[in-house]
């Protein structure tokens, strides 16, 4: 051992390094602000829809605390592409800009590098969750207070939906980082994330739930699992109740299982290769 070598908490300094890598470019706040703004817009639209919807004979009006829950429960369903992208980019930018070499020079243990990325992804994901909540509340709270029955911010059910929404946003970011480790090509990864979240999964959920024998499978898709954690879903509202969802804890486990499998695959493919 070199006598002059400083001793460092390797995982601790790896976390600090990852945080600095993330926050030293514009991407993280651009995506974060984008998420808050998008949710503010959707929050206003949904709040007006629920609060100002004319009474209809077919569907009972959503009123009271249910309206607040319906709006605030969309954090995950509407905003999840943002944490998924920031997590993915946390890994793929290193490949795209060839900074992976320098990252592995200062930390040759590749598991430490990948692990630090997953933890920082969780942190920035939780932060995005908070930003999303701020965005949602910024518009839906005044609308529901003025036009509807109120936002019920102190109601335990509302607080629970918000808390779980933030938690699941953190999980999405971890899943994104793990996915980036499997598909390190940045363009391919972004296209895959957008295609899966915007087309493949919604269609798969509709298709699977239309077939009785397969309807149980749809609950294991990542979006459905995330909806299960929050216990509320835009998709569920539209299709008339999310009866096919897993229990909340099982939804969280399914998301973690996806992240774990992707992490293991990424560790033994992208993070095992020669870096040339």
């Amino acid at each position: 051992m070199s006598p002059t070598a400083p001793t460092l908490n390797r995982f601790g300094v790896a976390l600090l390094a990852e945080w600095r890598k993330l926050t030293s470019t514009a991407l993280w706040w651009v995506l974060g602000v984008g998420m808050a703004a998008y949710l503010a817009f959707m929050g206003a639209v949904l709040a007006f829809t629920f609060a100002a919807a004319p009474p209809s004979p077919d569907t009972p009006a959503i009123t009271g605390v249910d309206a607040a829950l319906a709006v605030l429960g969309t954090l995950n369903a509407i905003g999840y592409v943002f944490p998924l992208l920031v997590g993915t980019l946390l890994v793929t930018t290193e490949v795209r800009h060839r900074t992976l070499t320098q990252s592995l020079l200062v930390e040759p243990r590749r598991g430490v590098l990948l692990g630090a990325k997953l933890v920082v992804a969780a942190a920035v994901g939780l932060l995005y969750g908070v930003l999303g909540v701020v965005g949602l509340l910024a518009t839906s709270a005044p609308v529901l207070e003025l036009v509807g029955d109120g936002i019920f911010l102190t109601d335990p059910a509302v607080l629970r939906v918000l808390g779980l929404g933030i938690l699941v946003t953190g999980l999405w970011a971890v899943l994104g980082a793990a996915f980036g480790a499997v598909v390190p090509n940045q363009v391919a990864a972004i296209v895959a994330v957008l295609a899966f979240t915007q087309f493949v999964e919604p269609i798969a959920r509709l298709g699977l739930s239309a077939v009785d024998s397969l309807s149980g499978v749809a609950a294991f898709l990542p979006g459905a699992a995330a909806d299960a954690v929050v216990g509320a879903s835009l998709f569920g509202e539209i299709s008339g109740g999310g009866g096919d969802l897993l229990p909340g804890w099982a939804g969280a486990l399914v998301l973690l299982a996806y992240a774990a499998v992707l992490t293991v695959v990424g560790r033994w493919t992208t993070f095992a290769r020669d870096v040339a």
Binding site: P6, K21, T99, Q102, L104, D274, A276
Partner: protein, 297 residues
């Protein structure tokens, strides 16, 4: 073993059917600048990457201070490396790049500023790397390598993209670092580029070692020759034939091999031969280098 000795032992690397590095053995010692030379594609970068744990050897070992790079507790503080293909995020400032990598080599923000000054990037440190010239990127790479003030430096083609002034600066800087007792390994595909900087040379071609010695020993392989211009070429040819010298036309005159200028001058004077130019041509290292690397192909 000295922490700063770099050693490559029977090192080999295959990429599929391509043998990039083959049975390569050499050592690099502290206090000297060692040139790691070979044509493009000769396996230099692959060897450097194996020394740094980025590429896994197929055979043999590459060691830093007697151990694989990755086995050291803080490897980035032991060996500072600037590799050619290392990238920078264009949206990150020079200072942002350094501070991102600082925690893992155990240095603070003040040291990041310090190395920026050291490589002449001081004010540019707050600008985004996307706006840097190739030379500035080279300097930022060097700054990254110097972050932890490491006892060993490993630089891949560091002169690429530097202007002539920058090359002179780099030359002095590397000499200074070696004089402080550091191990300095510099790769290049052009011997002339590092000829005035290095003490030792390791020459490879086609992934194999073709020569390792001090620069002086390499120069001895080149021999000397004398360049002569005369208005009487026939007279000179006769003189060379008489003395048994090997002469060949070169430029606007004649090159006489393995004889120094004084000997040629004295002989011409004795023969009453008029000379317009008489110059000892120094060892042409580039010729030796091309001969060594060419022989392997």
């Amino acid at each position: 073993m000295d922490a700063a000795v770099l050693a490559v032992e029977a090192l080999g690397k295959s990429f599929g059917p391509v043998r990039a590095v083959d049975d390569l053995t050499f050592e690099v010692h502290p206090g000297r600048v060692t040139g790691f030379l070979g044509p493009n594609g000769s396996g230099k970068t692959t060897t450097l990457r194996m020394l740094l744990g980025l590429v896994r050897p197929t055979d043999g070992r590459a060691l830093v201070g007697g151990r694989p790079y990755g086995d050291h507790p803080v490897p980035g503080a032991l060996v500072g490396a600037a590799l050619e293909a290392t990238g920078f995020h264009p949206g990150r400032t020079g200072l942002g790049h350094l501070t991102a990598y600082a925690p893992q080599v155990g240095v603070d923000r003040a040291r990041c500023r310090e190395v920026l000054e050291l490589v002449g990037l001081g004010p540019a440190g707050d600008r985004k790397v996307g706006g840097y010239s190739l030379g500035m990127r080279q300097r930022l790479g060097l700054a990254t390598a110097l972050l932890a003030d490491p006892p060993a430096l490993l630089l891949d083609e560091p002169a690429n993209g530097l202007d002539p002034e920058g090359i002179v600066w780099l030359r002095g800087f590397l000499r200074h670092l070696a004089a402080e007792g550091r191990t300095v390994l510099v790769s290049s595909h052009v011997l002339a580029e590092v000829q005035h900087t290095v003490d030792d040379v390791v020459v490879i071609a086609k992934g194999r070692l073709v020569h390792a010695s001090s620069l002086a020993e390499l120069a001895a392989l080149a021999g000397v020759s004398t360049y002569v211009e005369t208005p009487d070429p026939a007279g000179l040819a006769a003189l060379c034939a008489q003395r048994g010298w090997v002469a060949a036309p070169r430029d606007r005159g004649t090159q006489v091999d393995d004889v120094d200028a004084a000997t040629v001058g004295a002989a011409a004077h004795a023969a009453g031969l008029e000379l317009h130019q008489l110059t000892t041509r120094g060892a042409d290292l580039e010729d030796v280098f091309l001969r060594l690397t060419g022989a392997a192909s």
